[in-house]
């Protein structure tokens, strides 16, 4: 494989891991605050639809992005109302959100646009364009560093850069701010937070609001950056892979980035390897597709390291009476 082929796989890796990364960070805020979130998939799907629909109607990618984030936020708050205020089962709430999004997006898509659940293709301006970083063209001629900068680092959608910046921001917020300390505390020991006079409910709502906004970015990426318009079940289980990545990264932001890059790389490889031979033996594409899930199961089982989630995760907080 020459440099160009390697670069093109890595380039695809970055493109494919971005939505995983955004969704994974979204889940990180929620789960670190003690709310298990298996509804990432549904929120992304809802956001992808809203973004695609609004961008198609208004012709503005930014309005689409706002709509995606808004719808994702609203869905998150519904999930939050069930699992925080009403103290319902967080897992069941997540399942309901996923199903609601799957049904509503196709239903409304068909009713509004009559294209079998798709939103109309986006015109110019309706879709985010790749950004060429400064000096990319000038440096392209420089050996090795030039192509890496021009092909790999430059020329992505703005949401890609936001995703990677969010890793640093999340790490800072989580470990270096008072908000982050409290966020981690409500996930580990909400009673202690409550005793300190901080509202557990409020803290958890703040966390899931961030979750909702990030899921909105991730969903919008599918329909108005990577794709041009929304298609049925567009997120195709990526929300679950993001969840797997979150567990694999042991609920930490920087490992989350590397895990998402790894899972994105497997995805890129899988697309590239369709029917390809490797050392005379054909590797089934399905094996690579299943690898992220298998790896997560193996990790969870403690065969390679051990993933232990936030202690208070999954339990609605009830004050003593």
């Amino acid at each position: 494989m020459d440099l160009f082929a390697i670069l093109s796989i890595l380039d695809a890796t970055i493109r494919l891991s971005t939505p995983l990364l955004l969704a994974c960070l979204a889940g990180l805020y929620s789960e670190r605050a003690g709310i298990f979130d298996i509804g990432l998939e549904g929120k992304m799907l809802a956001a992808a639809f809203a973004a695609g629909a609004v961008a198609a109607v208004t012709g503005s990618a930014w309005l689409g992005l706002m709509a995606g984030m808004g719808v994702s936020l609203a869905t998150t708050l519904l999930q939050g109302a069930a699992s925080i205020t009403l103290k319902g089962n967080q897992l069941i709430a997540g399942v309901a959100i996923n199903m609601l999004a799957a049904g509503m997006t196709t239903f409304l898509g068909q009713t509004w646009f009559s294209q079998g659940g798709r939103t109309p293709p986006l015109g110019p301006g309706g879709r985010f364009e790749p950004i060429t970083l400064p000096f990319a063209n000038e440096l392209a001629g420089v050996p090795i560093i030039g192509p890496i900068y021009a092909e790999l680092i430059s020329g992505h959608y703005i949401l890609v850069y936001i995703g990677f910046i969010m890793v640093a921001v999340t790490a800072f917020v989580l470990y270096r701010t008072r908000f982050g300390l409290r966020l981690r505390a409500v996930g580990e020991n909400p009673k202690a937070v409550d005793t300190a006079g901080i509202s557990v409910v409020l803290q958890r709502y703040q966390a899931i609001i961030i979750t909702g906004l990030l899921c909105g970015l991730a969903g919008a990426y599918f329909s108005i950056a990577q794709g041009s318009g929304f298609g049925n079940n567009m997120t195709a289980g990526k929300g679950y892979i993001a969840l797997a990545a979150l567990i694999f990264a042991k609920w930490k932001p920087v490992p989350a980035m590397f895990t998402c890059l790894l899972f994105g790389f497997l995805d890129a490889l899988q697309i590239r390897l369709q029917g390809a031979q490797l050392g005379g033996v054909e590797i089934p594409v399905q094996a690579i597709q299943a690898l992220p899930y298998v790896l997560t199961v193996v990790l969870l089982a403690g065969f390679i390291g051990k993933a232990v989630g936030p202690k208070a995760g999954g339990v609605p907080y009830t004050k003593e009476r």
């Binding site: 069941i92 239903f107 679950y240 299943a290």
Partner: protein, 376 residues
């Protein structure tokens, strides 16, 4: 608030689910109104499509058969305090067992092929749930996450198996060889012309047997008692000398085997071959069915019938009212899960208070509760 009394039994098992279901329908009705269609007309179409004529009713029963199996799978696990979200994957993988046995025995008689396939499908489905159960019992990984992962692993595995192993060389479509007529599970229309062309088959008898079997298992056996103790209080069950890890593994296996019965209905009764994605989300409907049916076989039978009717009626709906697609049913299903499962806290407290007001001796207490300052 400690003075709050639990609801009377009938209200807990019938009234509350009915209110939650009503809410789900109400919200769905608003969605239908929102897109400019008449919800009452839609309900009329659904009811006629599901029950109004033989074909429709047959389809309703065919869908209900799947949902009984997946609903029971979720319920059995729930009694032991486990949330089996992997019914879809278990039912899917069970298809391997069903098709291999069916193809091997399809020259004999369905009376031989069907029981053998039930065992094989149950074994495959059970195995697919046993592994997450084993991982939770012995390695401490959460069964919810593992079963989700297993759904995806199952999807990849089945695409591979169907395309590379089971597909005959002469076939283009991704499907296995067809089961010979003698090996198929007979459809009810062969005995009753009432069912028209609908695919409802003898699997429904297996479903009814499963309902009865689960009832006996949970409430009339030592094992079922141990399961419920584990579900109610794992610490207590360990002190009582019950091996929790053994219980988790066996319960998950039973749960997966029940989900696996979907394969009998689909592969041997309807499709007559193994196709891709034949489970079509039935595992997830099972979650709604179990929640609605309060994890009790009678409730599950009724809820499965309800969802069967919704699925069949929903198919009809998109022909009669083109403005409403069948995805509306998925929305209703999601709302049922949301209201009966996750947002139960919405109506339970006020209902409890209402019942307290009705009983004279509790009335003063109730007033005291409702006038007391809300907890900060």
């Amino acid at each position: 608030m400690s003075a709050r009394r639990p609801l009377p039994r009938w209200a807990d098992i019938a009234l509350l689910p009915a209110i939650n279901l009503l809410m789900a329908f109400l919200v769905s009705g608003l969605v239908v109104l929102f897109v400019g269609e008449n919800p009452l007309h839609a309900i009329q179409v659904i009811i006629y499509g599901a029950f109004g004529y033989g074909d429709g009713f047959g389809y309703t029963l065919y869908y209900a058969t799947n949902f009984i199996f997946t609903g029971l799978a979720v319920a059995v696990a729930a009694h032991a305090g486990l949330f089996n979200i992997g019914g879809d994957g278990q039912a899917y993988v069970a298809g391997l067992g069903a098709i291999v046995v069916a193809l091997a025995l399809d020259q004999t008689h369905w009376l031989i092929a069907m029981p053998a396939a039930i065992i094989a499908a149950g074994a495959m489905g059970g195995f697919w749930a046993f592994v997450p159960g084993w991982l939770q019992a012995k390695r401490g990984s959460h069964v919810v996450i593992t079963t989700i992962m297993f759904n995806f692993i199952a999807a990849a595995l089945m695409v591979y198996m169907v395309n590379r192993v089971l597909k005959p060389a002469t076939t283009m479509a991704p499907e296995s060889a067809t089961i010979a007529v003698d090996g198929r599970v007979p459809q009810l229309r062969q005995f009753l012309s009432f069912f028209g062309y609908s695919p409802v088959n003898l699997s429904i008898v297996v479903a009814i047997a499963a309902l009865i079997g689960v009832y006996i298992l949970i409430w009339h056996t030592k094992f079922g008692y141990a399961m419920r103790v584990l579900g109610a209080n794992p610490t207590a069950s360990r002190y009582a000398g019950i091996s929790n890890s053994r219980m988790i593994m066996i319960t998950m296996t039973i749960s997966g085997a029940l989900a696996g019965m979907v394969a009998i209905n689909e592969v041997m009764g309807v499709q007559n071959r193994l196709v891709l994605d034949y489970v079509a989300g039935a595992g997830f409907v099972g979650i709604a069915v179990a929640l609605m049916g309060r994890n009790h076989p009678i409730g599950i039978a009724l809820a499965a019938l309800l969802f069967g009717a919704l699925y069949q009626g929903g198919q009809e709906l998109q022909f009669v009212i083109p403005g409403i697609t069948r995805e509306m049913i998925v929305v209703i299903q999601a709302l049922v899960i949301l209201f009966t499962g996750a947002m139960e806290g919405l109506f339970r407290p006020s209902l409890e208070r209402a019942f307290m007001l009705m009983g004279p001796e509790q009335k003063t207490e109730a007033i005291a509760v409702s006038t007391a300052k809300p907890e900060s």
